[in-house]
Amino acid sequence: MVKFAKKPGFIVAGLIWALLFFFAYPLVLLLLKGFGLPGHLTLEPYRDLLWNPLGWEALRNSLVVGATTMLLSLVLGATLAWLATRSDIPGRRFLRIMVFLTFATPPYIGTLGWIQALGHSGWLNLLLMRAFGLARPPIEIYSLPGIAVVMSLHLYPLVFWATEGMLLRLDPVYEEEAALLGAGRGKIFFKVVLPMILPALLSSGLLVFMHSLSCFAVAAELGLPRRRYLLVTLVYSTLSHYDVKGACALSAVLVALSGGASLLRRSLLGNADASVRAETGRARVMELGALRMPVGILALTFTAVVALLPLLSLVGTSLTRAWGLPLGPRNLTLANYLELLRNLLVARAIRNSLAFACLAACIGTLLSLGIGYLAERTRLRGRKTLELVTTLPLAIPGPVLALAIILAFIHSPLPLYNTPWIIVLGYTVAFTPIALLTVSGGLRAVDGELEEAAWTMGASRLQGLQKVLFPLLRKEILAGWILIFLMTLREIPLSLMLHTRGTETVGVILFSFRDTLGVEVTAALAVVVMVITLVGRLWVTGIERQLWEKRGV
């Protein structure tokens, strides 16, 4: 731990004030609303919650789904990341692309693919029924396990990227020494590797947990048919009945849950020793021997199915003339894509979304670097609260977060409502937590001694950051940027509440087209957005290569 800045400097003070004003202030307004403030203090919304049996059921369901999703994602993500970085299975590049595709598919419409396969009349269920002569579909996707599985199949890439960055950076010396001392593979993994990647694992696990709490799309598509309510569905329900206080109270419960998880992560991390000295550029690769092909094929098939199944059904849907008819020569068309070209709003929305996404991603990454640094590298008082406050918006469902932002920024001192800036602000507040958790997982594991070494050699603090820390953290920084960018591009609820004339976004169009022009056109738009993200991703990878490989870092 570096002794630094008992007195915050100019930049640090600015950062703190910005956080208080843009992150904490709307949240405080929201919490107060739950108690009827400003106005008469009331506990009624909380009393209603307490007496509502559905509320308790939803709380239990949310916890079960959240915990299961987290565990499944951790197992899947960590295993696949290890296979992709530390083993000699074939097709590792392909595996990475599949993982990216999985996360790039918007759940709002990607879930449809899972329903088409596993729904009551889904092809896989029908196939199984025919094969085994069953009367009822054997797989019930409209259930809590169904929700948890589909959520984790969508969210495991978050764990994958965090672990991958860590594993790549890990100095193989420890593992080599352990091997020399005669430790077996299993022992090396559990006693040497696991403790070192633990910070990243816990951070990404928390990210998945918080995300699953506020993910409405999957919870509604798979939960409602059989009346499985999660807290997030109840939040939407209170809003549909114009019960703002109730929505605020429920959101407070969500915030408390994720805050608790956040504190748990902190205490689990404790004073775990940072263990990455420097990057050697050579990760220790384990030869799987006879297992190489079977394990490789299994991993590749799994990632490919998980990525391509929703994606193919999305592309398929975007090519059909009419939803509900089977895909065949008579039902095939490109008209849905032409429809997109014909509507002038679409091009504008894509342009707007790209601009918002770029800016929000830049601001969010910078903020998260700053906060992560303060929290992990300094002894600034209140640094942990600062980190906590920045993480909390992730657990608040979109419409409620939008409500908080509207409450805070419709009047003076900063009337941003109905300007483009409120959308940038909304996206930044909503998605900075994702970058923060990604970056701080990495920061936690990179030893501060490296920067100290740079300072003793006469480098300034900023130079230390630029020459030592940033290069070491580049995977996390880049991952954080890309994550914000991806999530922003397809964000729906905030956009719906905050857009105005001229600032329509892709999310607004996605939502409105599904009701009027049908799933087919919506799917076409989703495909276009995915192609854009994929091209963007390849471009960013190209820049990254140029930047770092030439320097030989």
Partner: protein
Amino acid sequence: MLKSKKMLLTTLLGLLVLIWGIQGMANSPAKITVYMGPIPLAQKLEAAFEAEHGDVLTVVSGPWCRRVRAEMEAGDIKADVLYGADLSIYLLLWGVGQLLPYSSPEATAIKPEFRAEGPFTLANGRYAAIVYNKRFVSPEEAPKGWNDLLDSKWKGKVVMGDPLLCSAAFAIVCGLVQSHGFDWDYIRALRKNEVMLANNAGKVAEVVASGEAWVGICVHDAALRMIKKAEKQGLEPVLGIVWPKEGAIPIPRPAAIVWDEERSEEDTTLAKAFLDFVLSPEGQRIAAKYGFIPVRADVPTPAGIPKRIRAIPIDWDWISKHDRILRDKWQAVMAGN
């Protein structure tokens, strides 16, 4: 070192361009703001109205009820005119004195069943009816009325909007309860028949068409749009609509002007002109293209909709006054009590 300085400069320059671009998105302020959806319909109406009045409208789409509610909470409703959704939000705004009473000169042409009391106008007819999937259900087999949905052959195959998540679906449930003599037995029987729920009353069309359910309770326009789209491309539509023999449930789309003391006389005139336009034959024809039923007698109903629709009268006032109790009752009934 030189290279990274260059990079930094390019990045900063890029950011500046980005900020400049985003600042440029804010269009010159239009005169009045209209909250209406869905987007394609809103685009057509805006274009037609502005052809006459110039660039005067700011249109906001999407599920704007939530947005109005948030703005209400902040004490500053930004909309001048509201058009669409269902009566619930209008009743809420009326209750707090936020609507400007206005009776349009066009109102004389409105059919009697669409005349309403209150500072709003019913601008389009919309009904909840039964839809079925023609690939699995023949027209003869299809349910003919609400009570046929209780037949055990539809067990696990009926879908309806979740009244907790959609105000139109809430009205449908309340309408069904009212029409059965304020008795919840009908809903109980639906539960026994393992009714599935969907996000909203419009999404039912999507679910039935996909084959996940075979029959459903759906707002007619969503189903009609899907049918028309298939027919236009020369395909046999997947969905069929049945107008229930007991009567369809009316969920009309209102329109109203928001009360705003600070609005200029000129802008209020413009807001009134827009409301007149929505009720005019042209505005009604545009809405009819999206499946909504004209409230005027002199504009034909969309193809595929019967000339006269038998409807169950429902008491919206009762629904909005007892929102909480009705929601709790629904929950209790669905939990098996």
